[in-house]
Every structure is written in C-alpha cells, then in structure tokens.
Amino acid sequence: MGAGLDFGWLSEAGYVLAHGVATTILLIAVTTLLGGALSVVAAAARRGTVAWLRGLVAGYVELIRNTPFIVQLFFIFFGLPGIGLRLDAIPAAILAMTINLSAYGTEIVRSGLDAVTAGQREAGLALGLRARTVFLRIVLPQAVRAVYPALTSQIVITMLESAVVSQIAVRDLTYEADLIQSRTFRAFETYAVVTVIYLALSLLLRRVLVAGGRRVLGQGAG
C-alpha cells in the first residue's frame, strides 16, 4: 500500500456526502422537536401528582441512561420484529434517538422545574390563572431558560451518537462514508473528511440552537 494519502476521490463524492449530511440533519431536527416535547411532558409527569406516572417516568429514565444507544437501536430495529412490531430503518432511528434524547432531556427539564421558586406558581394561582396556564406560561419558560445550555449540549451529543444509525442501513453521513471507502479503498481519508464534517455540524448545530433559543426564550438563554 502506498504511504501517501489520497484525496482524489473527494471531487466525485461531494453529492453523496451532501446527501448523508442532509439525512443526518433531518434525523436530528425531527428528534429535537419530538424529544423536546417528550422531555417536557415526562418532566411534568415526574413532578406531577400521579404516583404511577412518576414511577413510570423514573423507570424509563434509568433504563435508557444505563444502556448504550446502539443497544436501544438494535432492540427497536431487530428485537421488536420478534414480537411482530416491524419498523422501517428511518422511523426506527428516529424513535431510538427520540427515546434516548428524552431520557436525558427529562432529567434536565426536571432540574429546571426544581429551580423555579414555588412563589412563581403560587403567585400565578393567586391571580386566578388555571394550573395548566401557570405551568405553560409561567413555570415552564423559566425552567427551560435556566437549563437551555444543558439541553443544547445533549442535542449535540445525540447528533454525534446518531452516527450509529448507519448500522441499521439508514443512509446518514456515516453510511455514505462506509459506501465511499468500500469503493475507493481509502478508508482513513474518507473517515477523516467525514470526522471534520461532523465537527463542523456540531459547531453549526450549537449556533443554530443558541440563536433559536434567544429568539424563543428571549435574551440570556443559551
């Protein structure tokens, strides 16, 4: 094998890599929306009044946080068909990523809810607002603002972990890299280029999330 590195393949790989990047972005965008919503609902249930729901959410969080993402993905994609639940690769990937992100997100949002002083809720109720309105309009925005940086980091981590979905043949950035290197036999160069793309994606994603947070939550978030 020649000792030199060869990046000649890169000129023809642009389209394929772009396709992989688009898939990776699509996955994390959908996961962020679904996972964000599920995190809020689960955190509210964790701090709610229904005992069995609190237990259910606590069990879910522990189960997901103490098993590897790839095992969750394989269980959903390979394991569930064993009991008749068959999902295509992309829905399976989005489900696994959402379940994973939400377990961490639930804990993060919950700690945010704990950080909002009880007086905020009491003041809202004293004004005659409904409990639901107090939660959605007064407590939740403050809670999310307090923990927004942690949520941002967790979303970036989920995007990086999504490289694993290539293993169930989702055509994300890593999958396209696998294809390219199997054709060019330039594995190291291919993965080096793709690693740099992931690094750029993680920096970009952080920026987008911080800017989005400022817009939705007001100054000071992110």
Binding site: M1, A3, L5, E62, L63, R65, N66, T67, P68, F69, I70, V71, Q72, F74, F75, F78, G79, L80, P81, G82, I83, V156, L160, E161, A163, V164, Q167, T174, Q181, A187, F188, Y191, A192, V194, T195, Y198, L199, S202, L203
Partner: protein, 215 residues
C-alpha cells in the same frame, strides 16, 4: 440445534468479561493520559493550553464511532498490524482521556484561587502547591463525576463491536443470527448493560449526595 435461554445468557455473560476488561483498560489508560492532558490544560504557557483544549474539543465534538474508525484504519497506514482489540482499547483511551481531563479541570477550577495564593505565600513550589493543597481538595469533588463517567465509558465500549471487537453487542449479533430469537437476545443484552451500569450510576449519585451534605 436448540438454544435454551440459559445458553443465550451464558454466552452473553462470557462476552461481558470483554466489555468489562475494555472498560477498565479504557478507564486506567484514559485516566493516565487524562492526567497528563489536565497538566497541559492548566499549564502557564498558552500554546500548551491551546493544544490540550483543541484535543479535548476534537474528541468531544466528533462521533466516537469516527474516532474508532480513524484509529482502526489509520494505524495500518503507519505500517502497524492492528487487531480490533488494540484499536478498541486505543480509541477508547484517547476519547476517555479527553473527557476525564475536562471533568477534572472543572474540579480543579472549583477550588478557590485563594488556595493557590495561600500555598504560594507559604513558599511552596507550584508542583507542591498542586500536590499538597489543590489536589487533595479537588479529588474529593472529582470522585462522583468520575464514577459517573465510568457509566458513559461502559456504554461507549458497545461501539467497538462495529470495528469487530467481540464484546457484548457483537456476541449478541452472532447469537441472534444463530437463534433467530431477536427479542430475547436484545432484551437480555440490555438487561446485562443495565446490571453493569446501574450500580455505578447509583454509586455516583450517593457520592454526590454525601458531598453536598454538610461535612
């Protein structure tokens, strides 16, 4: 040939040994390299600090799977014959060192700067300041997050199945291909990881609680 539940479980438990060995090796060597990285990260000279910071950001800003691929396919370019276990161990060591250095930096910087000043005013050499005054205090804070990181490390070893290291996930895939009982195999796989990780999670939580309680 029929596989009983016990056959599946027994083979998974045998493979769990390699997950444990790899986790311990990654923690040990990653800890040593992470300690060195921490010294660079806190060094007086700016170029050293920048190099350490870039290393940490590179490993925390890219997928572990890519890092494993780069080690696995990169070392042969240097003329080395790479077995999966070596690439797995080296890849996890490099990644763990970045995370541990960053965790420990947080612990050192949590010590009030006045402690450094006080140690310096006693005439201690900078290394003595670190060893006698700062480290004993920083170590106390560092235990809980370090144990917490071990959970992440055990989970990270699962990715080495992709470069062909025969740990738990790879073995589960092989068993699944032989038994056609995917639900059972992957549910057991998850249960074994949970059994490995949950005690560490619980320990980290207990340590953190003890630290927060007034001494």
């Amino acid at each position: 040939m029929e596989f009983t539940l016990w056959d599946i479980l027994r083979n998974l438990l045998l493979a769990a040994r390699w997950t444990i060995v790899l986790s311990l090796a990654g923690f040990l060597f990653g800890g040593i390299a992470g300690g060195g990285l921490l010294v660079l990260r806190l060094a007086r000279r700016k170029p050293l600090r920048v190099v350490a910071r870039l290393y940490i950001e590179l490993f925390q800003g890219t997928p572990l799977l890519m890092q494993l691929f780069l080690v696995f396919f990169g070392l042969p370019l240097l003329g080395l014959d790479v077995q999966p276990w070596l690439a797995a161990g080296l890849g996890l060591t490099l990644a763990a060192s970045a995370y541990l250095a960053e965790i420990w930096r947080g612990c050192v910087e949590a010590i009030p700067p006045g402690q450094w000043d006080a140690a310096a005013s006693l005439g201690l050499h900078p290394f003595q300041q670190a060893r006698l005054v700062i480290l004993p205090q920083a170590l106390r804070i560092a235990v809980a997050p370090t144990v917490g990181f071990m959970v992440q490390l055990v989970k990270s070893t699962a990715l080495t199945s992709i470069i062909g290291f025969s740990e738990l996930v790879k073995t589960a895939n092989v068993i699944n291909n032989a038994t056609f009982a995917p639900f059972t195999v992957y549910a057991m796989l998850a249960a074994i990881y949970f059994a490995l990780c949950y005690p560490l999670t619980a320990a980290a939580r207990a340590l953190e609680r003890r630290l927060r309680a007034p001494a």
